[in-house]
Symmetry: C2
């Protein structure tokens, strides 16, 4: 398999966004989010979906020249209208706004309405950490996950991102969804004709099933992470993003991969930034995180592992390899990148040849 | 089994705290936290532990006349020194402080050091909701939970509480720990001589085990909730409470039930309050929560359940029954209440006779 150079992948993404009328500045932002996510090895949320973003951009369901704007604000908060821009553009705007406010307020919450799918929540958490702050990034989505006792999906597999900086031990970046397993894993088993373990999927009667085909046929919902715990966290995320921003919630949110591309999806998000220096003074917190992360890493590990990892560490290792040697994309990603080239009238980049 | 009247239980708790030199005002606060938790049916975090709080109060590891105080603050944040007071006294003080600040700032974060075990995180989340705000309550604790790939415990089963008010549909109150199952469940299986399912416990080599005795013998650690997800959330909670307050972290925190009662445990907490009216104006958010909760409740439910529940709803139902008819305590709670009576020189209350 040919490795994909990161710089060429980014150039390709910039061209695709450009073909849809996105400004160079916004294309840079969105491409950076997706390509960084690919370097982490999180292919489900990287450029694999480039074709879906550009389809909706061409349909105007995402406005190529949309501009997120502050609808109302205070020193420690803001309500942002995403103007149906690219979710990555609005997400980066909103997290940077939260970080700027937290720099003086200690903590800030920015909620966003009228957005679309924003990629990986972990990107925004990582962004806050790279700016020396703690970040939390949340988003709602259409229901795909059951609640305890439900027949059918009740909540989205709403993502939770958390980032915290250290001085020398790297950032912690947590990015989790609130379903027990990702829908992509169930779909992969269905494609391979395999059965799945009990506990991943619930049929339309609310009973556990091992048949992944039911999910493809929309006759089943993902199981929530640890039952009532994942359900509760997903509902919390819906409240903080959709509820607090006055946006659409649950099944009123658009299905961003499938709905007609002329329609805005009205996803909503919430971003919290916390400035540790406000609480502890300059330079104290990063050193404390060095101690915390270092002690966990040097603690006793099971025979099969090198050491206990800090969340995000594996992704950082993959990123270093990707930047040095390129990204080893599986075929499904390469196929979707080809679709993006074709649909945007771009020559096939050499890394896809 | 004789039911325990809620008012008599509270009087008993007030007397016990009073015998240890706690002021009537602080005794009222702490008793209200523990007794409310009992009315929810969450017996692990109610008056069952009264004897343990009073032991440490008599030993001065918890100061009977300690006073939580603001060490530094801004309009949207505060760092509180708990002065080794009762965790419930400091917790209520800190969450009320967060709510007061969020009333004007939109969001506020209060971090707390020098505290002790504060009971159920859900109490503080519920407190914020009862005051019309969204609340998040977090606490660190000594390690009892493994990380993926670790040998032995790495993180506490750090609790996460979330509360949100509605106008007419009751509050959502989520209270979850970050271990896959509570240690109490493993201990109960050990006491009954039963084995436990794979996935609850990891032995000292980091391998799954069905033997709950290993947990009692401190030769095993609880499994994290959904593997890396629960580990990541527990680490986040440690960072926001212990990390951000400058307090002790992980194994440096005291074991509140077992350490010598002369020692302060130095637990730390974090409380976030969010004022929805700041974002949406008065009365908008509670109505939105009515819609959200109502639609979830009226959605399709599996054959064996009445309707899909909002987190905290089951506990509210138990509370209504408890207030009307009393609490049906299991024997282990009644035994521990007897211990509290004996150790505090109180006559056995009639509900324990």
């Amino acid at each position: 398999m040919k490795l994909t150079p990161v710089s060429e992948l980014k150039t390709f993404a910039l061209q695709a966004f450009g073909r849809c009328g996105v400004s160079p500045e916004d294309a840079e932002t969105a491409a950076e989010v997706l390509v960084t996510t690919d370097t982490w090895g999180v292919f489900t949320h990287g450029t694999k979906a480039l074709y879906a973003y550009t389809r909706r951009l061409r349909g105007q369901g995402i406005k190529p020249r949309g501009r997120p704007r502050i609808q109302s604000e205070g020193p420690a908060w803001a309500l942002v209208d995403g103007d149906s821009s690219l979710g990555m553009v609005t997400g980066v705007y909103a997290m940077k706004l939260a970080v700027a406010k937290a720099a003086t307020s200690g903590i800030a919450l920015v909620v966003v309405r009228n957005s679309c799918h924003f990629g990986a929540a972990g990107y925004y958490a990582s962004l806050a950490a790279s700016l020396g702050q703690i970040g939390i990034a949340l988003s709602n989505d259409v229901p795909s996950v059951a609640a305890p006792g439900s027949r059918g999906a009740v909540m989205g597999s709403n993502p939770f991102g958390f980032g915290a900086p250290s001085a020398h031990e790297g950032a912690m970046v947590l990015d989790i969804a609130t379903a027990e397993v990702a829908g992509g894993k169930v779909a992969a088993a269905a494609a391979e004709g395999k059965s799945i373990p009990l506990g991943w999927l619930l049929d339309n009667e609310g009973k556990p099933t091992t048949d992944p085909q039911l999910f493809i046929q929309r006759q089943a919902a993902l199981a929530p992470m640890s039952g009532h715990k994942g359900y509760g966290l997903a509902l919390m995320i819906e409240i903080l993003s959709g509820g607090l921003s006055g946006a659409k919630m649950r099944d009123k949110v658009g299905i961003w991969m499938l709905d007609p591309p002329e329609q805005a999806t009205d996803h909503s998000h919430a971003f919290i930034a916390i400035n540790p220096a406000t609480f502890l003074g300059e330079k104290v917190f990063p050193g404390r995180m060095d101690d915390l992360f270092g002690h966990i890493r040097s603690g006793p590990a099971a025979a099969h592992v090198d050491h206990v990892k800090i969340p995000g560490e594996i992704e950082q290792g993959k990123r270093a390899k990707a930047l040095a040697a390129g990204i080893d994309f599986p075929n499904d990603v390469r196929d979707k990148l080809k679709t993006a080239a074709e649909e945007n009238g771009l020559p096939l980049p050499s890394f896809l040849a």
